[in-house]
Symmetry: C2
Subunit: 414 residues, 2 copies
């Protein structure tokens, strides 16, 4: 690790992209460690990520009640607010960067932590490059988050395991429900994942626990509707029920999303369909089989279910933020905290720093050899990979039967 | 309570209708108490409710591992299998009743417990009347279950509170997610409840906890699309986001379900729509506002989320089954176990017996004076009613990060 002198100045953390059940645990790792540090003079939360910096909307974390901050460990969504702002390339348009520099100078910000997924690591990397170019001394760190689990380099991403645990738990429960009647039923559960099938694959853990999907379809391979219908009908005829987990991002061989393809069914008008992929596939399966078919879309539920988060994920998310701050103080910059994991003799997670330059904008997908040859299930390799990540249940604080989430005062810098 | 001599013979329990997160807790209350009773010689589980009796498919509960049976307290869905079999009126067609009598005589069944909702209480009542008419001595008991909370007489129904807790928890989490961006969003969450709005009303508890729906629509009152759009636009314009909870059963003044009405929108062809009410309303709101709109259907998730059940509900459900057996042994028959609750000085639940004759086929709805005058929210009366019911978190057994549900051997009587 580099051995530079700590910079003395303020720190800012921003959150960006789709939230997760544990992104606030990472933010808390950053905030708590920064607040406890001697060289960090003030800790800001950027309201709505980089947009909050551009708009000079900084919340003073030093003003918050430590007990409320601690609740961030179990509070879903992005407590500081998120954004989907695509920052320009600094070589093409440096307006935003000049503004960021202006704000950083105004508050003497010497530490910048950005908490998000692929796009956020890209933003983080660009800010870092610009600040280096103009010679403004600031330690820049990516703190990863994405339920999609598609960040390059790291074994897995904070947020993935909690969504995976929720998906496996929910499908384990739904599997019991949809096989309960004397008459059979086909159930299709849609999981998030536009380009990477990690979340959908996690449904297999329900099968490992006794009741899960019979068929699993990921976007890593082409989807073939005829094969799909053959698979479903075979399972349904064999056991009187069929449970399918499918990724929202499944696509035909020509690359078009199944969820967006024009209807080729009875009406043929190609009207935009209501509902998502699950509803569409349910309709097609119903037409093909005459069976009772139900589509279930896990929607936002799967990315904000703090009540069903993985304790392992919470701990690792917190540590990601903590290590980012510690590493920045120690002189590192332009890095993202990631994981290297050992599963041979019990699960061990080692923390490593990855160059932002290498992480940004590269999507990590489920290895093709973890998908069975019929493209309709995943292998034991995936089970071994994912099982330790969902270990442990969160110890939430409850009030009146419901989780008590953090309520921040949100004191803004004037 | 009647003081008849206990009957000596076998007992059978069946489960019927839509399952819940705690219907097995009730079944366990029946099974455990019956197994421990001296006068009950054998305990059967009817596979798929009354259909299992008609088909002579009886599972011997005495053969099950007591530790697995205990896991029924936290196992969702109907472990014995369910059915939606509508039994004929015995005065019109007594074929099924003769068959039931035959089976009861074959195994010397002297106790019949039926675990379900409105239709199941009706079945239970008809079986009781028939057995009385033909002079076959058998104690018949309804053990209530319905997430819909629409059984007459009782303060609330086992199963409702767990679904309510899941709905409130999920909406509390989703509310944080769908307000996270710098750009606003409208979110529409569809809850179960075809004729009664209890479950949808429970979403208000999320608002009480800090983040919940801005608008709530129940099927107890007529739905007006113009008023709905006005409400949503007003909230959205005022605060930049809007979260709606709506019951699947909302209907227009003419009684037609909003979810089934023909499209009057752009295409006008009236094609059958994919997806449910949430998707349909989302589409209409999107067309009217241009805002980002997302529909979420809680679907089966809300009725099988054992991992998020109410500990109060689990306890009351178990006790319902237990008291049914104790009362039957003491000589009662033709009754359903229900609750009378005191909320004045802390919540106290008293168990009472209700005549099946009065319970069957009468739907209890949310009182109209618990719905605000704009038909778009519920009052403090509902909050006071529902809050104590969702108290307490379940202590599930976990294996590999997932709940360990009961795995029954299912030893069938030959």
């Amino acid at each position: 690790m580099a051995k530079k002198k700590p910079l003395v100045g303020a720190a800012v953390i921003g959150q960006s992209g789709g939230p997760s059940a544990v992104i606030n645990a990472s933010a808390y790792g950053v905030i708590k460690t920064a607040l406890e540090s001697d060289c960090i003079t003030k800790v800001y939360g950027a309201n709505h990520g980089i947009v909050g910096i551009l708009n000079d909307r900084l919340m003073i974390m030093d003003e918050e009640d430590p007990q409320e901050l601690e609740l961030l460990l179990h509070t879903p969504s992005s407590a500081l607010g998120s954004c989907r702002y695509k920052i320009a390339d600094p070589e093409v348009d440096d307006t935003d960067y000049k503004r960021i520099l202006e704000i950083f100078q105004k508050y003497n910000i010497r530490y910048f932590f950005y908490n998000g997924g692929n796009d956020s690591m890209d933003t983080c990397n660009k800010v870092n490059r610009y600040l280096q170019k103009v010679g403004y001394e600031c330690r820049v760190f990516g703190v990863p988050k994405t339920i999609d689990n598609d960040l390059f380099g790291t074994d897995h991403c904070p947020g993935f395991a909690s969504a995976a645990k929720y998906i496996a738990t929910s499908i384990l429960e739904v599997a019991r429900d949809c096989k309960v009647y004397d008459k059979g039923m086909i159930t299709i559960v849609e999981c998030m994942g536009r380009h990477a099938g990690w979340l959908t694959a996690a449904s297999v853990l329900a099968s490992e626990a006794g009741d899960g999907p019979d068929l699993i379809y990921l976007p890593e391979v082409d989807f073939n509707m005829e094969d799909f219908l053959d698979d479903v009908i075979r399972v349904y005829n064999g056991q009187g029920s069929c449970l399918v987990a499918v990724s929202e991002g499944v696509h035909y061989a020509d690359g078009s999303f199944v969820s967006e393809a024009k209807t080729s069914g009875t009406d043929g008008f190609g009207h935009a369909q209501l509902g998502g992929l699950a509803a569409r596939l349910a309709s097609i399966v119903k037409a093909a089989t005459g069976a009772k078919v139900r589509g279930i879309e896990l929607s936002l539920l799967q990315r904000c279910a703090a009540h069903c988060a993985s304790a392992t994920d919470i701990e690792e998310s917190f540590n990601s933020g903590k290590i980012a701050v510690e590493s920045a103080i120690a002189g590192e910059s332009g890095k993202m905290v990631g994981f290297r994991c050992d599963r041979k003799n019990g699960y061990v997670c080692h923390y490593e720093l990855f160059d932002l330059e290498k992480v940004a904008n590269f999507e990590k997908k489920v290895p093709l050899d973890w998908i069975t040859s019929d493209n309709a299930y995943v292998t034991q390799d995936f089970v071994d990979y994912c099982t330790p990540l969902i270990e442990g249940e969160p110890q939430l604080r409850y009030e009146n039967g419901l989780p008590r989430f953090a309520k921040l005062k949100q004191v803004f810098e004037k």
